[in-house]
Symmetry: C2
Subunit: 367 residues, 2 copies
């Protein structure tokens, strides 16, 4: 068995100080993904076990695994599927989970920073980390940088509905938004739904407190007006309400980062409450326990389908590369979902799809 | 059997044009509640059947039932418990469910308007309607008027959590809010939780995208700062997140009307999705059907507990009287919940409790 390659120093084509894009990395040397090997509450073990699961779904994947070789090498030995596709880029510096973004920006050799550098320099097509979210957004903006034509990156994720999955954004990157941000979120959400859900023409809804045209504030009315006149008009459904998210009324739900974050967490809270109540019901009597055994299989399928791990991987969209944030407290299966989302975006051309849309939208967004 | 009293003309102590408060209605002639007999999709039958259920919970209640005597009298004959406590105030005019608020304000004799007049004139301590929400808010502001010291009324409601019930506001009356509105919502929510949940010192959370003090925007930080320095400081928990609503972290959750409306409807949507999925699971096989029969009793108790009808009755708080909006599409049980909420507020001194708090908060809100 050959040991995985370990890069002790930075590859020569990375400008270490600026993380600038440097032309000319040959396609054969480009990694599918750079993965922060140290981030998350579960540490390197969850990361390596997650990569091992992704190796089952994707062939010919090459991963640049960044972190402490002293911890990563023994783990790779235990997960040979991961070992076969990983190259280690050694660094001992890590962004702690509670570090402020401004401090994280000063750590030039952290595993998270080097993963961003790899994307910015063209060494990797995307990156995944389960580390500190605030640090990750700040590093993504500074190192990978915002996509030309987009004012601010957003956070998107997939949720289950009664009619398949829904893409929701922004989930917290932008607490205050104007109408232009909302229109940009629609463009990014549509490209994301195409790449990750595989839909040819995803429909888009703008989250509001009522579906009538007069509801909501000025920024919502302006965003709706602009989308109606845009190349996305045939896919724009109009305003949707909170209950439309799980009804699956549209494939994409667009909102500001404050509302999106509250809606996502409220939904998770309700699911958790129902799970607790169901557990109580099934334990309430002997006959209920027997009943549970009879429906167990169906309930487990339902639980699997609603499993937050299946929807792990909040994506920072609107950057010069694919940047996926795994939940810090996830396990190997959850981390694998995040890596899968990143691979879907890389393979199904999320960035190109967004670029094409933006070039058609250009004049509308410069009003 | 005696027929209920029918008032064909306005009581002489109501100033019909202005709906002004006129001193001197003797306590013995004050109605507990004025009820709009015509509002809602279910029409008068749901209203009268609902009142009949409330008659079981409250003794010595006197209701002024406003609407078309031709429809109401035969219904009261079928519901003798309602008949025993109702006086009919006859009017044939009704606010249609799709009428714009500005048009509804011009209908001086509508059943909804006359119920507001009864509260404004001191003839009734509160009112309940299942009619047009927009019209109801506009009429409440114009006729019953905003409470001195409150800038804008808000919409509050009760939801189930893992630790008892939670009061949430604003649910859509104020789409855009400043820090003063949020502090006022906290004052009103605390008084509401005292009156309706019977808690001696309800705790208050401010909905945000994170619990750290630096999260969120300026208005949230200012509102938190003010509450910390206020007489409510010992009950103020700080920031809460979406999942804290159903976790029951605090007894009151304060937010702006846009976020509150989205959170409420998102939660309802998730519950509906889970109900559909559970039905599928229990029908998926013969053994699952048998299993259902064994857990049926527990599931029905759980369903009852989460039943939106039990939580019917969004309350407009911050007015010179108790104004409760029942969901337009509810049934008799749901309408009875709304009447119960109104009675709880009247009996347990919601308005007095709010007045006392406001007089202590006064200088903080005038900053």
């Amino acid at each position: 068995m050959t040991q995985p390659e370990v890069l002790e120093t930075l590859p020569p084509d990375v400008d270490q100080d600026a993380g600038q894009f440097i032309e000319g990395v040959p396609e054969s040397e480009v990694f599918s993904l750079a993965v922060d090997g140290m981030g998350g509450d579960g540490g390197p073990e969850v990361v390596v076990a997650g990569i091992s699961r992704t190796a089952d779904h994707y062939r010919d994947i090459k991963i640049l695994l960044i972190g402490d070789k002293g911890q990563l090498l023994p783990l790779l030995r235990r997960y040979p599927k991961a070992e076969a596709i990983c190259t280690i880029w050694h660094t001992e510096s890590v962004v702690p989970m509670d570090m402020k973004p401004t401090a994280a920006l000063r750590l030039r050799q952290s595993s998270m920073r080097l993963a961003m550098d790899a994307v910015a320099s063209g060494r990797a097509k995307g990156m995944v980390s389960a580390g500190n979210s605030g640090a990750m957004l700040a590093l993504a903006k500074t190192v990978v940088k915002t996509f030309p034509g987009i004012s601010r990156p957003a956070m998107a994720a997939i949720s289950p509905t009664l009619k398949g999955d829904v893409v929701m954004l922004d989930l917290g990157a932008n607490v205050v938004c104007d109408w232009r941000n909302l229109v940009e979120f629609a463009v990014m959400g549509e490209a994301f739904a195409k790449a990750v859900l595989g839909l040819p023409a995803p429909t888009i809804g703008l989250l509001n407190v009522g579906s009538e045209e007069l509801k909501g504030d000025e920024k919502l009315r302006l965003a709706a007006e602009t989308l109606k006149q845009s190349p996305l008009s045939s896919q724009f459904y109009g305003f949707v309400e909170g209950h439309d998210i799980t009804a699956g009324t549209t494939d994409v739900v667009v909102t500001d980062g404050f509302t999106g974050n509250v809606a996502l967490k409220t939904g998770e809270g309700v699911l958790k409450m129902v799970a607790v109540l169901l557990r109580r019901v099934f334990k309430s009597s002997l006959s209920a326990r027997v009943g549970y055994l009879l429906v167990q299989r169906g309930l487990e399928r339902m639980k699997e389908w609603l499993d937050p791990r299946r929807y792990n991987g909040a994506v920072f969209v609107g950057l010069n590369g694919v940047v996926v944030k795994s939940h810090g407290g996830t396990d190997a299966e959850g981390f694998a979902s995040a890596v899968d989302v990143a691979m879907d975006m890389v393979v199904h051309g999320f960035t190109e799809s967004m670029r094409n849309r933006l070039s058609c939208m250009g004049s509308l967004l410069r009003q």
